[in-house]
């Protein structure tokens, strides 16, 4: 009973963190006057569960060699990751205020050399899973127990190098590698299934030799349950989590709206969006 109560509190806390991620994203993009709102909104719950429940990191020692790694292969969602790192204390929160300004460490895509807590720079799609595989190989060669989490976009699966990495991770039995596909259904030009279909994602990974699972990427109860199960289960193969999400989730006018891959909310709209985010995902269900 107490475990259930604890889990409920955990889930509520994680939901608040997801809200925080969306709100901070809105705030930071207001500095830049242009940004990827919707690409963050689809993975806000994933960031939340990973950084506030799953991953083992040490903000006072960002390069701690035993830490779990996170590679944001869909680097354009970095604006949602920066506030999480600041919240953890990897760097002072005030640093975020320089977002995208001349000479800032914080651009639209993350830079490992400038930002404590960023495990790898990204921005050019298709490379993050290979990088993650390299980190996982390093862990095995050095007899470390850390895990490597790699977040991929669904449109990113169009990149050929991703499939080189999938092939190789299975062959090398990288059971310390977890790929998470933010299956938000859209890339820049529209729906992935209209542009260059990627379905069935699970069967493709399976055929390449991976374990696969699906989860509602916005349901933190399910996410907590899944990641708890994953961490207590021994695997032989790399694992991919296909997180069913919506691009723009949490702001109705942006959800699956092709116009909002990039954009900017001026003051009146921003206030409305902030109120909508404050109400939470449950308000419409």
């Amino acid at each position: 009973m107490s475990e259930i109560v604890n889990n409920q509190k955990l889930v509520r806390d994680l939901e608040e963190k997801a809200k925080f991620i969306r709100l901070e994203t809105v705030r930071l993009i207001d500095i830049a006057k242009s940004g990827h709102y919707t690409s963050v909104f689809s993975c806000a719950e994933l960031f939340s569960v990973l950084y506030y429940h799953v991953m083992s990191v040490d903000p006072s020692n960002p390069d701690w060699e035993d830490r779990d790694r996170f590679v944001l292969s869909k680097g354009h969602a970095a604006v949602g990751l920066y506030p999480v790192l600041a919240d953890h204390g990897f760097f002072p929160k005030e640093w975020l205020d320089s977002y995208t300004r001349v000479g800032s460490a914080f651009g639209d895509h993350p830079d490992m050399r400038k930002i404590p807590g960023i495990d790898f720079s990204s921005g050019s799609l298709g490379q993050g899973l290979s990088v993650s595989a390299g980190m996982a190989i390093g862990g095995k060669m050095s007899n470390k127990d850390y895990k490597v989490y790699c977040m991929l976009g669904d449109g990113e699966l169009n990149e050929g190098q991703i499939w080189e990495a999938i092939l190789s991770a299975a062959n090398l039995q990288l059971n310390n590698l977890v790929a998470i596909v933010d299956r938000n259904q859209m890339s820049l030009d529209g729906f992935t299934e209209d542009i260059m279909p990627v379905n069935p994602i699970d069967q493709k990974f399976e055929a390449f030799g991976w374990e696969t699972c699906h989860v509602d990427g916005h349901n933190l109860t399910d996410l907590v349950e899944l990641f708890d199960k994953i961490s207590s289960t021994k695997r032989e193969k790399p694992l991919v989590i296909i997180a069913d999400t919506l691009k723009g989730k949490g702001v109705e006018g942006m959800e699956l709206n092709n116009d909002w891959h990039l954009g900017y909310l001026a003051e009146k709209d921003r206030k409305k969006v902030e109120e909508e985010i404050h109400r939470g995902l449950q308000s419409r269900t």
Partner: protein
């Protein structure tokens, strides 16, 4: 599978003139890296070696045999290999990754720029069979643009060893270098120039191999032997050639160029590379940036995809063998003296 011992067996039934992959690769510059790295790995456990289905062509198989636990053959996926090397470099390992120079510098160019050079990771890129050493295998397998491409990447260090001795010296002396390095290697059958590992290489410091007063020839790697031989030949004709082995392309030894200008007033560059962006361009930049007054000539590949043919025939055609280089130097020296 990491190492296939079948390649150790010599097939006695073969005709004397026959060859296969095992027989072809002797002790040349690229071929030596596997052995040298295996030796370094004996002393330290942070060395890892990756290749992409060419471990017998580059003899990284020698490393695989000695240290299978630190070796991965990624199959034919060069871009993935480069990015994976970047990933493992963040975990405290120093990855040496080898494949044909064309598949590193061209196929994997963006991965090198964005995931290796930009984060300034200690990834060692061994690009072998560079230039036109692949001869009649054709343009897909030639790398006459690699220096131009990689030189423009910030943080990149570029070394062009000429023979196994210098390759060993370059590899050994740069193990702890903090950023990425591109080693531009030959095809493993390079003629020897150096005898002692201890004297062959110091990063960023050109070797003035031969003193001369009439002309300075700046070259490295694939073309150094031809230049050395040409200089010996020209000496007999009364032309005194100052030979500079600019083994490090980046950082470039500007001072060596300045000294050469002061000494001879005539500078010629020789390269098995496009004259756009290679050693000729490097030297020209130093001369222009410093307002150096000299006569200057670039000898290399002039904005074309080279013919196919056996390498020796190509060197002959493009005046990159000793005879051809001597001819070009002679023309430059005599031509300019007559003006």
């Amino acid at each position: 599978m990491v190492y296939n011992p079948v390649h150790e067996k010599f097939d006695n039934s073969l005709d004397e003139g026959s060859w296969n992959i095992s027989i072809a690769n002797g002790e040349g510059s690229s071929a030596v890296s596997g052995k040298v790295l295996a030796d370094i790995r004996n002393e330290r456990d942070d060395i890892v070696v990756f290749t992409a289905d060419v471990m017998y062509s580059n003899r990284l198989a020698d490393f695989a045999k000695a240290h299978p636990e630190s070796f991965i053959n990624f199959g034919i996926s060069e871009q993935h290999m480069v990015s994976a090397a970047a990933g493992i470099a963040t975990t405290g390992k120093i990855p040496y990754i080898g494949t044909f120079a064309s598949f590193l510098s061209l196929l994997s160019c963006e991965q090198i720029r964005t995931s290796v050079a930009y984060p300034n990771l200690p990834v060692r890129l061994i690009g072998h069979h560079s230039g036109m050493t692949m001869g009649f295998y054709g343009t897909s397998h030639h790398a006459l643009e690699d220096l131009s491409i990689l030189r423009s990447m910030a943080e990149m260090t570029i070394i062009c060893p000429t023979d196994p001795v210098q390759a060993e010296a370059a590899i050994r002396s740069t193990v702890d270098h903090s950023g990425p390095i591109y080693f531009r290697m030959g095809r493993g059958r390079d003629k020897q120039v150096y005898e002692n590992v201890s004297e062959a290489f110091e990063l960023g410091k050109a070797n003035e191999l031969r003193d001369g007063k009439d002309v300075s020839v700046i070259t490295n790697g694939l073309t150094l032997r031809s230049v050395v031989d040409a200089a010996a030949q020209l000496e007999e004709e009364g032309i005194s050639v100052n030979v500079i082995d600019m083994h490090t392309i980046k950082p470039f030894d500007d001072e060596a160029v300045k000294r050469a200008v002061a000494k001879t007033g005539k500078i010629m560059t020789v390269e098995e590379h496009s004259v756009i962006g290679g050693i000729g361009s490097c030297a020209a930049e130093v001369i222009a940036d410093n307002n150096l007054n000299c006569e200057f000539s670039r000898h290399g590949i002039y904005d074309e995809y080279v013919l196919i043919g056996p390498p020796a025939a190509l060197y002959n055609h493009y005046d990159l063998d000793a005879e051809g280089v001597a001819k070009r130097i002679r023309e430059f020296v005599i031509g300019s003296n007559n003006e």
